[in-house]
Symmetry: C2
Subunit: 256 residues, 2 copies
């Protein structure tokens, strides 16, 4: 897939291949996170002992914001597959623009589910993938760094829904035009859902988690990434939010 060549980006087979590759990335990053405790303090604003001068958010927010500021300066968020968590705080790049061709509709960057992704990640995913509950002050930084990796991969995976949506729109413009005009969310949802593909994803994840997720030193009582949890995360979080992205993107597709 090459974002300077639109025909490669809107090919559903290419999109699927990229999504498959992202599964490995997400699993590897979850496994890295699974070595640490939940560390609730990392996610609390103005937490005692972790207060950051002139900053309102959490320890994680501070680390993530500063990374995004750095990466924005080297063009991360010019790329149509990247979505910032802090869209109001990122900077312009000092490098010449890449001038990606317009592949998605111009409002695409406004379809941003990162706040939601961060919320469910903290509330629902961390408890499933962490080794144990509780704080571990020696690893707050490692945990935040690992969380950022997980969040950025999840964000990229979920916002890839925009390419899926655009490809589907292009594949049947009359149908989608009608559904969009009718604001028929239910039918749009029906049309973008491919249960066979979803089933396959979950099967593949089970297999991958079985292969990658085996910790040979397997200490009792310590959680690690399991096929069951991974499937749960995809089924209840990743796939549904991806579809929300697709629907929101499609609903605005007739704007000009």
């Amino acid at each position: 897939m090459d974002f300077t060549r639109p025909e490669t980006v809107l090919d559903l087979q290419n999109i699927r291949n990229e999504l498959v590759r992202m599964e490995d990335t997400i699993i590897f990053k979850f496994i890295e996170r699974s070595h640490f405790a939940t560390c609730p303090s990392v996610y609390k604003e103005q937490h005692p002992g972790l207060t950051i001068p002139n900053f309102e958010g959490s320890f994680l927010d501070w680390a993530l914001l500063n990374l995004e500021i750095t990466q924005s300066q080297i063009r991360r968020f010019e790329s149509p597959d990247e979505t910032p968590f802090f869209p109001d705080k990122i900077k312009k790049s000092f490098l010449p623009s890449i001038n990606y061709p317009q592949i998605l509709a111009p409002y695409a960057p406004e379809v941003n589910y990162n706040d939601k992704i961060k919320d469910v990640y903290i509330k629902n995913i961390i408890p499933l993938i962490s080794r144990k509950d509780g704080d571990d002050i020696n690893n707050f930084g490692s945990v935040a760094a690992s969380d950022i990796e997980c969040l950025q991969s999840l964000s990229r995976r979920i916002h890839f829904g925009k390419f899926v949506a655009e490809a589907k729109f292009q594949s049947d413009i009359p149908l989608y035009t009608k559904l969009i005009k009718d604001k028929d969310v239910e039918k749009i949802m029906e049309n973008i859902t491919n249960s066979a593909v979803e089933e396959k994803i979950l099967e593949r994840l089970t297999k991958k988690a079985e292969v990658y997720g085996v910790d040979p030193t397997n200490k009792k009582g310590e959680r690690r990434i399991t096929p069951e949890y991974l499937v749960k995360i995809y089924k209840e979080i990743v796939i549904p939010i991806t579809k929300e992205v697709e629907v929101e993107y499609l609903l605005r597709r007739l704007e000009d």
Copy 2:
């Protein structure tokens, strides 16, 4: 392993377990890097089209330096297992110090092989793990981000030699005192080398690369992480530089 409790850090079995865990981390990060081309421009100073205002280093250096500045402010380099690539440019943290107990000798932070690690990574490791040769302007940022992950993991792995060295010193103070006084590098090298352990590492790596490194979509002509390359990287780079760290650390161990 808990750096606030010295007895857990100088236990050779704990050190080995940690090194085993780091193998997985390094393999996962190499696999992520293997999706991209070599991208030589990322490593050149003042490269046309990638020149950074008021900065002398490469695109990678800029990204790595800025990440280190951020992470130094949240205490990364207070931790005895972390070594900066830009020791002269990092900042003090705004958080209260963790006050790690002194486990290593006070000069330990000066034993810093990161310049060498970055050099061999660029010159010798990237060509082995990249998918293909050449630049890919759309992924310079992704490549740099992935390189940083690889470099930080390699650096942590290699500088862990300091804990190995300290544990070995403690285990036979009279022997090492004599060898250090004699500046007998050869005998020190002999005493810190455990060929059986090294053999086991390489065997384990082969197995892990076989399991983790399988790319089911396996496109012809595109390199990916192979057991052979991984073993080569450990045998010719990771293990020897770790031993250099150990020797340099030990040679200074009688300083006061």
